[in-house]
Symmetry: C2
Subunit: 295 residues, 2 copies
DNA sequence: GGTGATCCATACATATATGTATACATGGAC
DNA sequence: GTCCATGTATACATATATGTATGGATCACC
């Protein structure tokens, strides 16, 4: 007994998705490059084959039925997979070969870029990816990089940015540190601990103060512009550091401070120069990165 | 600039997936209920539209090209989504209404079934799901339940079972317990700690001994047939318990013992009576559970 | 080496889907 | 109320895709 999905007409499925997302047959026809009567018939045939009413025909516009709403979720998954397929297909074309230079923070470069690069090599084998670990937006304006992964929205009008996702972090310290010092029980205790700063301690203090966590500047005992070094310091037990949960999960000796509280959310932006976005190669890597980073 | 995926012929995509999975055009034609020439032309047209060679024609059989292999991954995602769509569509049909009784262990019933039930209500609103928290396979043979979620493969020939996935667990204890006692540093330390047994302590001791973790039977200070009660005991600091990582993740006061070591992998089986599997309603819930549990 | 099974590609007739043109309905602007 | 923009459904001609039939090629088997 084979599943009914193999006997579904996948083009009808595509028609359903487009119609549901556009809210009209005409709109879906425009999006798909077909005509409105075609969409009308495809939807009707699809409903007949499923033996279900997908849309409520209310004169002016179509409305999803209850069943249609449930099915739309699965159809959207299919649309995402189809989009990914299209991207991968572009990546396989040899005429898009060349180098694309991507810049990301050192932590991102070290923690997520290896796997992303691996995925990208599979999906766009013709493209050579050059990962530069810096954190200044100037790289893009000076054309020293093609695409940047950033955690703040860039202001320059010459840049285009797409919000990809959001990462969550918390406060962590090594178990050895917490065993040696008194384990903090309340937010007040935190001021008497050693803190590690990534970058400028003052900027970090202000940031934590904004999270309702005021700390004296003396609390920051060590700092490093290099995020990886700061993180290694934290791992070896030098103090408390706020860091991305995924990074922390890879270090079993790290323990979350006051679990559940003081969560930091930082967005992930994909940025490129507006002129570069018209280059098919860079455009492809941009879209692939958006797909790979946006899990 | 719209994505190229909207202009892809999704039926060609389906043809590609079937051909790649079957290894031949004829096989794909049989699966899809089409003829071999149709598949031949669809694949050729698809390759032309993508401007990519997907298969290497080597007389006897088709072999995926490098590009085809990369694209197959995305196509499989699409196939999965299409299968899910087909299941949801079945669930929306009113003629499949009725009750299905599912039995699962108490921990599973409490931890995963609520969300699964919610998903299932969305995808098959006509079906009333009855969740029974027990762990004996007899329920199925006596027809006291229609479907069982189990962690051992059933032996009875009258039952059909499908392996859905695998869950991973580790040893956990409450932070309060670990603060009060000496925090274990090595595997040897574990024998001097208090252990909590789910079910029969002897069976659990044997199970842990099989994981190269020999414990005296006196180490088990408390036990409960009811897994939830054992878990609550562990959360309140009565000792060490091996438990699923997802369950542990929801209890911030629980800390993993010797992080990374002593991992327990237990399979998830979906079981039903072979006769029941022919009932469309139960068959549907079976497939939906397989889809929902197998993430 | 012959034979049958299996597989892919092509030709041709037919079935199916699509586009064009059109009729009809609705709601907003004036 | 009238006009116009927008949207859906149907008729008809045409373009496209599909099935049937067939030929060629390869491999397993005797």
């Amino acid at each position: 007994m084979d599943h009914p999905s193999t006997h579904l007409d996948w083009n009808h499925l595509r028609a359903f998705l487009a119609t549901a997302e556009c809210g009209s047959l005409s709109g879906a026809a425009r999006r798909l490059g077909l005509t409105q009567p075609t969409l009308s018939r495809q939807i009707a045939a699809f409903e007949a084959s499923l033996d279900l009413l997908l849309f409520e025909r209310s004169a002016r516009n179509l409305m999803l039925t209850e069943a249609g709403r449930a099915l739309l979720l699965d159809a959207k998954d299919m649309g995402k997979a189809a989009a990914a397929f299209g991207l991968t297909a572009s990546g396989q074309r040899s005429e898009l070969s060349g180098t694309v230079r991507v810049t990301a923070s050192d932590i991102m470069s070290w923690h997520v870029m290896p796997q992303v690069t691996q995925q990208l090599r599979l999906r766009a084998p013709q493209i050579m990816l050059d990962v530069v670990a810096t954190d200044t937006i100037q790289d893009l304006l000076r054309r020293e990089a093609d695409i940047a992964i950033r955690h703040v929205r860039p202001e320059q009008p010459a840049l285009i940015a797409r919000l990809i996702g959001q990462k969550t972090g918390h406060l962590y310290a090594a178990r050895s540190y917490l065993d040696a010092r008194k384990r903090p029980e309340t937010a007040q205790d935190l001021a008497h601990h050693d803190w590690i700063a990534m970058g400028d301690p003052k900027r970090m203090r202000d940031h934590l103060a904004g999270m309702n966590l005021p700390l004296p500047i003396e609390a920051f005992r060590v700092a490093s512009e290099n995020g990886l070094i700061a993180w290694e310091m934290a791992k070896s037990g030098l103090g408390i550091i706020p860091i991305d949960d995924d990074v922390a999960a890879q270090a079993p000796q790290m323990e979350q401070i006051l679990p559940g509280s003081f969560s930091v959310k930082f967005p992930v932006w994909l940025v490129t120069h507006s002129e570069l976005h018209t280059s098919p190669r860079i455009r492809l890597v941009f879209d692939l990165l958006a797909d790979l980073l946006g899990d």
